[in-house]
């Protein structure tokens, strides 16, 4: 497969510059109207805390990180703007994938790895990303994209470290993709 902007299935992807421009305007609108950038991991953490609270309410209420979201008088754990942004991303993504005919159940992987192996790595990678997003107070959306656009030092540092970490690890898992 080559690097042309062509999906393996469905219509070709949009020009990365056009998509990036649209994304940039979306981010700008977020600054202007919300007064905050885009975010994905924040909403995910809320949903995670909500699920964990369903399973073990007393334990979560005592925990130092998720606990305060369940304090008396605090708004509902899901009454948080990023939870709704997350829903928006799902719907917006689905809409775009549908019109581009790119909705197809599959496990995306390189030719040299089994589907099961790919899913194990996806779980492991997700675990690292979920943890790191909480530690760094944001993910590629909230820190790298939004924070860098505002030139916040920590966000730029995070962005650089993401790439450093990814390139350093990339060779180890090359088999997964190529």
């Amino acid at each position: 497969m080559n690097a042309s902007d062509k999906a393996s299935n469905g219509t070709p992807y949009a020009s990365p510059y056009l998509a990036g421009f649209g994304l940039g305007l979306t981010l700008l609108a977020s600054f202007w109207f919300l007064g905050a950038g885009l975010g994905a991991s924040g909403g995910l953490a809320r949903v995670t805390a909500w699920v964990q609270h369903k399973v073990a309410p007393e334990h979560v209420e005592k925990s130092a990180y998720f606990g305060p979201w369940f304090a008396d008088g605090a708004p509902h754990v899901l009454a948080y703007y990023l939870v709704f942004m997350m829903l928006g991303v799902l719907i917006g993504g689905l809409f775009s994938a549908l019109i581009a005919r790119r909705v197809r159940p599959m496990v995306e992987r390189g030719p040299r790895i089994s589907a099961r192996g790919r899913l194990v790595l996806a779980l492991l990678g997700g675990l690292l990303v979920g943890f790191a997003s909480r530690l760094a107070r944001g993910c590629t959306s909230g820190q790298a994209l939004s924070g860098t656009a505002l030139l916040f030092t920590g966000s730029v540092v995070f962005l650089v470290c993401v790439f450093a970490g990814a390139y350093a690890t990339g060779l180890l898992v090359r088999r997964q993709w190529r």
């Binding site: 997003s133 920590g154 993401v162």
Partner: protein, 675 residues
């Protein structure tokens, strides 16, 4: 737009959710359009085969950066209205490296995985499941992670501040880097990804676009008036050593005195963050200018939004709740928290109360203090939404009556409405306890008067009236209807409200007697009220004149003086004061002449209007109204100003008792000359 949802604290409201959802829709749409619903495409960048991630990210970052620069330059967006992201070196370096590893191993990041889920990619679903486990692990081990998570904090610094170069240069640099990165990416894709050489036309188009991007960056940064930093909260490099809690308490470093706070607020100290931890309702009534409201019970859940640098000051009404909050924040790793000594009540008492109330006696100190006080009051009280509410006036209009007078029928319909207060101002509290209009609060009209500057029966200064009305739980937004068994009692209290700058007040025409005669409901309970801080007015009011003012006006001429005492006092036949008589040239019209005979209700407006016209008091005529002590005159003053709409009516509160006590001022006796 009047500020962002974040700045207006509306982000976590249904409207905020709807807006965030809409933004999310676009976010998801463009991510998918970019091809980020594919993990293979996303990770292509790490093998130099598909550089879409870099192109999309760089384009988006530079677009938003330039757009933000334009918005702030035009003043359409204030940097302070955007949520600042703080730098935590350890957390962001370690977090970034781990995130990067997770990204290439898992093939997704949280936002793109959502789009992957929308595209039915099973690996995206598994990835997100992993991310929830990772979040739980973080939460479970948060205590051990706190030093890394909250340590090495540099505040909300921007790259320009960290590197000591202007941020505007960085905007141009980012645009330049983006252009180079795009060219490099295209070359890499050809070399490693086997991409075909792009048509010359594409290259030409891309060069044009890059040129426009850089030009836009340059234009944006040279726009005048750009604020370069989004709300910096940087403190000088202080060692991160947190002192022991007990040591901090012992050294009283955990408190800030009201005067110190006032001074720092007034010089707009950027290192200072002021948090009001009282309930929202209290905050709305009165708060210290510059404070953000985070009710105590929400403090922990919103602690992440508090700055770790600079000074964080907490206050409540007293000290207890703020002390609790202080303890909670200290244990969460904030070592920059102070409590306002004795809370907002002390702040109000020490910083905003006039010297006469603080017991200052030394005159020179008092006058120096007065100037400082005026400055503080101007800063903390003037211009507050409280003194000039922008909300639409509560309509008190009804046919035939001005909005400052209401009828019993109208009042009957308003009972039980929120923000609606009724004051019973009859002289004796026993009249009130025996029965009053349901919901009415009691305030003897005598308690708004006292000896001021040696003159008895003067309406108290605004600051003292604010205390009295605050104790009744009255807030500036309330609509207040005053009644008594004499109309003049009600107008006196209404004038007190006018002195406070109260927005919406009226007197009940006919008073309590009419209410009873009409067999309207009566209550005997005592409503429970909570004392509040009623913001004291700045300066004196605009309608009260002093004895010297009246003497000056008399000399200058052009002002008509209306004496509303009974004729016997006007002519000097009777006198209770230092000497009999009247102010020379005054015109007599006894205040009871305005009322329906035997009732505490005004006559109809047309007949009152023509009566005053005939006596020479047309609406444009500058008029000073007085009686013996100012009490009866309050009724006539209220009538002329608020019902007949006279434009220049002044109330001489000192009245004949103050005038008579000044032997240097002239007096007249006998019948008035008829002209």
């Amino acid at each position: 737009m009047n500020g962002t949802l974040f700045a207006l604290d509306l982000l976590d409201t249904p409207f905020g959710f709807a807006m965030a959802g809409l933004i999310g829709l676009l976010f998801g749409f463009f991510l998918e359009q970019a091809g980020f619903g594919s993990s293979k495409r996303l990770t292509g960048i790490f093998y130099f085969q598909d550089m879409a991630v870099l192109k999309v990210m760089f384009t988006a970052v530079v677009t938003a950066m330039i757009g933000y620069t334009f918005l702030t330059a035009f003043g359409w967006l204030k940097p302070a209205d955007v949520f600042p992201l703080e730098t935590f070196w350890g957390a962001q370096i370690v977090g970034g490296l781990l995130f990067g590893a997770g990204f290439v191993i898992g093939g997704w990041c949280p936002g793109t995985a959502l789009v992957g889920v929308a595209s039915a990619k099973l690996d995206a679903i598994v990835f997100l499941a992993g991310a929830t486990i990772g979040s739980v692990i973080f939460s479970e081990f948060f205590d051990a992670l706190t030093p890394l998570y909250a340590g090495a904090c540099a505040g909300a610094v921007t790259l320009g501040q960290s590197l000591h170069i202007p941020n505007k240069l960085l905007v141009i640099a980012f645009a330049g880097m983006a252009a180079l990165a795009f060219a490099g990416s295209t070359w890499l894709e050809r070399k490693f990804g086997g991409a075909p050489i792009q048509p010359a036309e594409t290259t030409r188009r891309n060069r044009w676009a890059a040129g426009i991007m850089i030009a836009a960056a340059v234009i944006a940064t040279v726009m005048p008036g750009r604020q370069t930093t989004p709300a910096p909260t940087v403190a000088p490099d202080a060692p991160g050593q947190s002192q022991g809690l007990l040591a901090a308490v012992a050294e009283a470093e955990d408190h800030i005195e009201p005067m110190d706070l006032a001074e720092r607020l007034m010089r707009d100290d950027p290192d200072l963050t002021l948090i009001d931890i009282r309930p929202e309702s209290d905050f709305r009534q009165f708060s210290i200018r510059g404070a953000t409201n985070i009710p105590l019970e929400q403090l922990e859940s919103r602690a992440a939004s508090l700055p770790c640098k600079g000074t964080l000051v907490l206050y409540s009404n007293g000290t207890t709740h703020a002390g609790q909050a202080w303890m909670a924040l200290r244990t969460m790793g904030f070592d920059n928290v102070l409590v306002l000594t004795d809370g907002i009540l002390a702040f109000w008492r020490e910083c905003l109360t006039p010297p006469s109330l603080s017991g200052w006696t030394d005159e020179s100190a008092a006058s120096a203090g007065r100037a400082a006080l005026d400055a503080r009051r101007a800063y903390f009280i003037e211009g507050k939404t409280l003194s000039k509410p922008s909300a639409v006036d509560v309509s008190m209009a009804e046919p035939g009556l001005d909005r400052h007078v209401v009828s019993t029928a109208w009042l009957g319909d308003q009972l039980g409405k929120p923000d609606f207060r009724i004051l019973d101002v009859r002289a004796k509290s026993t009249s009130y306890t025996a029965g009053h209009i349901p919901g009415a609060l009691y305030l003897s009209h005598e308690s708004v008067r006292g000896t001021v500057d040696g003159v008895p029966s003067m309406l108290l200064p605004g600051a003292e009236l604010a205390v009295i009305f605050g104790r009744l739980g009255l807030s500036p937004q309330d609509t207040v209807v005053v009644y008594s068994d004499a109309l003049r009692d009600a107008t006196l209290v209404a004038v007190a409200l006018e002195r406070l700058g109260h927005r919406s007040f009226a007197v009940l025409n006919g008073g309590y007697d009419k209410w009873i005669t009409e067999k309207r409901p009566v209550a005997k309970d005592l409503p429970v009220v909570k004392a509040v801080v009623y913001p004291p007015p700045v300066g004196s009011d605009s309608f009260t004149v002093s004895t010297d003012d009246v003497a000056g006006a008399l000399k200058r001429g052009g002002v008509k003086i209306l004496d509303v005492r009974p004729p016997d006092f006007f002519t000097g036949k009777k006198s209770d004061e230092a000497r009999p008589g009247r102010i020379p040239g005054a015109i007599n019209r006894e205040f009871v002449n305005d009322l329906v005979k035997g009732k505490e209700a005004w006559k109809d407006i047309p007949s009152l209007s023509s009566a005053y016209d005939k006596a020479g008091f047309i609406p444009d005529q500058p008029t000073i109204v007085h009686c013996r002590t100012g009490h009866q005159a309050s009724q006539t003053y209220f009538l002329l100003k608020h019902i007949l709409g006279h434009k220049d009516v002044r109330w001489y509160d000192g009245s004949w008792s103050a005038w008579a006590a000044r032997p240097d001022l002239p007096a007249e006796m006998g019948e008035a000359e008829t002209k």
